[in-house]
């Protein structure tokens, strides 16, 4: 009789432990999701800032001080033209290949990587020849993000 009771009590404790383990598991998943959400909100704001910064510059090195009406007059290579710091950048494609790290108090480093390339205006597909549209892609990485976030923006001349 005492043996049966002991088995019943042990069975109850095991079931209860299983419930607690499941609850802890759900709590951790929920906490991770919450952190991911927070990281997404912050990463989006930080990424959007770079896009804003880039699109405030001239469309192309050749349009900084001149007017261009033929695509042939646009730059073939998309990179910074002897500008060292982003404060010196004067056109959108100077940001191509730029890497920057924004450090914030709660979630640490947000690593940003920018890619700029010509796109076909109607299909938005990558174009290897110059066009009057450039696409800015910003990839953002952070330890709390499950995958990198990619923000895109197309600027046209």
């Amino acid at each position: 009789m005492a043996g049966n009771q002991t088995i019943l009590v042990l069975g109850g404790i095991i079931l209860f432990s299983y419930l607690i383990l499941n609850f802890n598991n759900a709590s951790i998943t929920q906490l991770n999701l919450s952190l991911e959400n927070e990281a997404i909100i912050t990463a989006t704001a930080v990424g959007q800032s770079i896009i804003d910064e880039a699109q405030s510059r001239a469309f192309d090195e050749n349009t900084v001080s001149n007017f261009v009406d033929k695509v042939a007059d646009l730059s073939l290579s998309l990179k910074s033209d002897n500008e060292v710091n982003s404060t010196d950048y004067d056109d959108v494609d100077d940001y191509n290949g730029m890497k920057r790290t924004e450090t914030l108090g709660r979630l640490g480093n947000f690593d940003l990587e920018v890619e700029v390339y010509y796109v076909n205006k109607s299909t938005l597909a990558k174009s290897f020849a110059p066009t009057f549209s450039k696409r800015i892609d910003v990839k953002i990485k952070n330890n709390y993000l499950p995958n990198e976030i990619k923000l895109s923006h197309v600027v046209s001349y």
């Binding site: 404790i13 919450s34 959400n37 927070e38 912050t42 800032s49 405030s56 982003s86 404060t87 450090t103």
Partner: protein, 193 residues
């Protein structure tokens, strides 16, 4: 004797089970409140971000004279035609004092106020300062910080406004205030020239 041992044993086991149940309930309610607080703060951060972006992008729209009439690390006053109706509006964003939010248990949160055309200010959010920056930072066309744009000429140089703040929960959960860091660089089109 055996009967007494049985009773004592069952009392001890049931006490443990009750303790586990109480602990479980406490943990569950703490966790629920933590999640609620976290979700609320994140929602506030998103909405505050949207309000600030919507307003600050419009700085100087249809304003011919001074577009920004006051700018420091905790306050900005600017002119814009907010409703696109031909009449200029004056919009002010400023950070209140810790005492303005003394009804919350958070010791460092301050209100972010918005006021339009001199009307009573409306609290947008409860914020605190990020460690590495001020609430409002002003940059010129080269992206160089203008430390204190306290003259008309210095304010005319402003091209970019960097807003940085930590939105925090009013109440702590186990000593921790849930929060979201929000930092955004805004380049209003009407400050470009």
């Amino acid at each position: 004797m055996a009967y007494l041992i049985d009773v004592l044993g069952s009392v001890i086991v049931s006490s443990f089970v009750i303790l586990m149940l109480v602990g479980f309930n406490v943990q569950m309610s703490t966790f629920s409140y933590d999640m609620f607080s976290s979700t609320l703060t994140q929602g506030n951060a998103v909405v505050t971000g949207q309000i600030l972006e919507y307003d600050l992008y419009k700085i100087g729209y249809r304003a011919s004279g001074q577009k920004i009439s006051f700018a420091d690390s905790t306050k900005i006053i600017y002119s814009t035609d907010l409703e696109n109706n031909g009449s200029l509006d004056s919009v002010c964003y400023y950070i209140g004092t810790i005492e303005n939010l003394s009804n919350t248990s958070n010791p460092i949160d301050r209100p972010l106020y918005r006021s339009q055309n001199g009307q009573s200010p409306i609290q947008i959010a409860a914020v605190s300062r990020l460690e590495h920056t001020t609430y409002f930072t002003y940059l010129d066309s080269a992206g160089v910080k203008i430390p204190s744009p306290n003259t008309v000429d210095l304010r005319k140089k402003i091209r970019t406004i960097k807003v940085g703040m930590r939105l925090q929960a009013a109440e702590a959960v186990e000593g921790i205030y849930q929060g979201v860091d929000w930092e955004r660089t805004i380049r209003p089109k009407n400050l470009m020239n």
